[in-house]
């Protein structure tokens, strides 16, 4: 009870040790006979064409940016959620209006993103 983070560190150390042990053990125990064909990337049995690290769809960057925006909104809502019920009475009404304003601003941004087609995956 007194130091929960200490138990967490113990678990972290134990899990990390086990992860290392699993990789290390299979490295020591398993046979290793590499051939050039074995070491080529798998492409359904065909000789691989070009490099895999080519350009990929810009959509993935867009998703990442949208994620950061909306995830931060979630992070802002969490402290609000924890104090909401305990506030009671007039304080609760203030918190409710505050949150409605916040979500209204967020909704404007969301509608803009939708209308600009950022959510289309076509």
């Amino acid at each position: 009870m007194n130091q929960p983070y200490l138990s967490f560190l113990l678990l972290l150390a134990f899990v990390a040790f086990n992860a290392g042990a699993l990789i290390g053990m299979s490295h020591l125990l398993a046979p290793r006979k590499p051939t050039p064909v074995k070491e080529t990337p798998y492409e359904s049995g065909m000789p691989p064409l070009g490099d895999a690290h080519e350009r990929f769809s810009v959509k993935f960057y867009l998703v990442a940016m949208l994620f950061i925006i909306f995830d931060i909104e979630t992070v802002f809502l969490i402290p609000w959620g924890t104090i909401f019920f305990a506030a009671g009475g007039p304080g609760m009404g203030f918190l409710l209006i505050e949150m409605l304003v916040f979500i209204a601003i967020l909704a404007v941004g969301y509608v803009y993103v939708w209308k600009r087609g950022a959510l289309e995956w076509g």
């Binding site: 398993a30 895999a52 995830d71 979630t74 939708w114 076509g122």
Partner: protein, 387 residues
């Protein structure tokens, strides 16, 4: 302090072992249930009813040759399975699985680390799993792996928003992120699945997407991407991705049970809700918790053999155009309802309060499921006539 350290060390080893054995057992259960649903036998040769099959698979994977693609980024390639494995096995730490165990030296809480940050810790560490997937996809230098890794990371972060927002609804009623407080609040009145039924719906959909399970297993859609981000992995490293995926399922099930189904709470009795703690209470609540987690794990497998897979644009449309506005709108409706009942009518939070919210949820659910079922929102571009 020494006592605390010793009990912590024991709990760490016991919980880790329990999760690992549970995951091994789960792979066997999945194959047997799958066989049962498809009316065939499944693995039944190794040990009684095939129970030792996971042990045989584990040993085999330890002694198998590993391939290391010549053009791969060696360091990241080695690091990726560990980056998946470690967060997946850490997330379970904050979930209490039984009432405190009384010993001669004091009560021992049945949770590895009752962190004050509570389930935010789980959301945080579950997101760290994305790194393993991205590293694996990138370092393999394989086109299938890269596409699988990209898809997987985009999917995981998209559904994380809906998941986070559905837990905000839990916070409105629980008032604290500490998992023990969430459970205590549910023991006082009723399980949160009743007053927050739609939040649970959002949560379970997001949890299926987060764990990359059917109907959201696009990252490893074998028809198009071979095996997704772990195409190039073999032997023990492949096994570690597998363990990570299944222990993520275990954590997601445990989180569902804890946030919405009262955790280790035994329903319809208050015998298990307070001290004095006894060993009987610990064992009974542990059994109850295992039963709930087991049910959700069975649900995962059941859904896998019931629903077809989404197409990728449908998946993203569901996440961004349905789940996100639904979660946001749900928070505003719930907050307004709680304000009306608590601040205006002066109700305190009890079973009556919860049932009033449950009625509201049912009223909201009818038009929602009607709208979802009409086939307009998640049908994809072709059905909308845009193709």
């Amino acid at each position: 302090m020494t006592f605390f350290l010793w009990t912590s060390a024991i709990k760490v080893v016991v919980v880790f072992t329990a999760v690992m054995v549970g995951v091994a057992f789960l792979t066997w259960v999945e194959r047997r249930v799958c066989a049962w649903i498809q009316d065939r036998l499944g693995p039944n040769r190794v040990g009684p009813e095939g129970l030792l099959q996971p042990a045989a698979d584990g040993l085999k994977n330890l002694f198998k040759e590993e391939t290391l693609p010549a053009s791969s980024d060696k360091l990241l390639f080695l690091l990726a399975p560990a980056m998946s494995f470690v967060p997946a096995l850490l997330t379970i730490a904050v979930i209490p699985f039984a009432t405190p165990l009384p010993t001669a030296w004091g009560d021992v809480p049945m949770v590895v680390a009752d962190l004050p940050v509570g389930f935010l810790y789980i959301l945080a560490f579950a997101s760290l799993g994305v790194y393993g997937v991205v590293f694996a996809g990138w370092s393999s230098n394989n086109k299938y792996a890269l596409l699988g890794g990209l898809r997987s990371s985009a999917q995981m972060i998209s559904y994380e928003i809906a998941m986070g927002m559905s837990t905000v609804a839990v916070l409105l009623l629980a008032g604290n992120v500490a998992v023990s407080d969430v459970i205590a609040r549910q023991q006082e009145s009723t399980w949160f699945v009743f007053p927050l039924a739609l939040a649970y719906f959002i949560f379970i959909v997001a949890a299926f997407a987060e764990t990359n399970r059917v109907p959201f297993d696009l990252p490893e859609a074998e028809g198009e991407l071979v095996a997704g981000y772990h195409t190039e992995y073999s032997a023990m490293k492949f096994s570690m991705f597998y363990i990570a995926e299944y222990s993520n399922m275990v954590t997601a099930s445990a989180l569902m049970a804890t946030l919405f189904f009262g955790g280790y709470d035994i329903p319809l009795t208050s015998w298990d809700n307070g001290p004095p703690w006894t060993i009987a209470k610990t064992l009974a609540t542990l059994a109850m918790f295992s039963l709930k987690v087991g049910f959700f794990l069975f649900l995962y497998i059941w859904v896998r053999w019931t629903l077809p897979r989404f197409r990728y644009d449908q998946l993203m449309a569901l996440g961004w155009k349905v789940m996100l506005p639904l979660a946001l709108g749900y928070i505003t409706v719930m907050a307004s309802a709680i304000w009306l009942l608590h601040a205006r009518l002066g109700w305190t939070y009890d079973t009556r309060f919860a049932l009033a919210l449950f009625g509201l949820n049912v009223l909201l659910a009818i038009p929602l499921f009607f709208a979802l079922d009409r086939g307009h929102l998640i049908s994809g571009s072709e059905a909308r006539g845009e193709a």
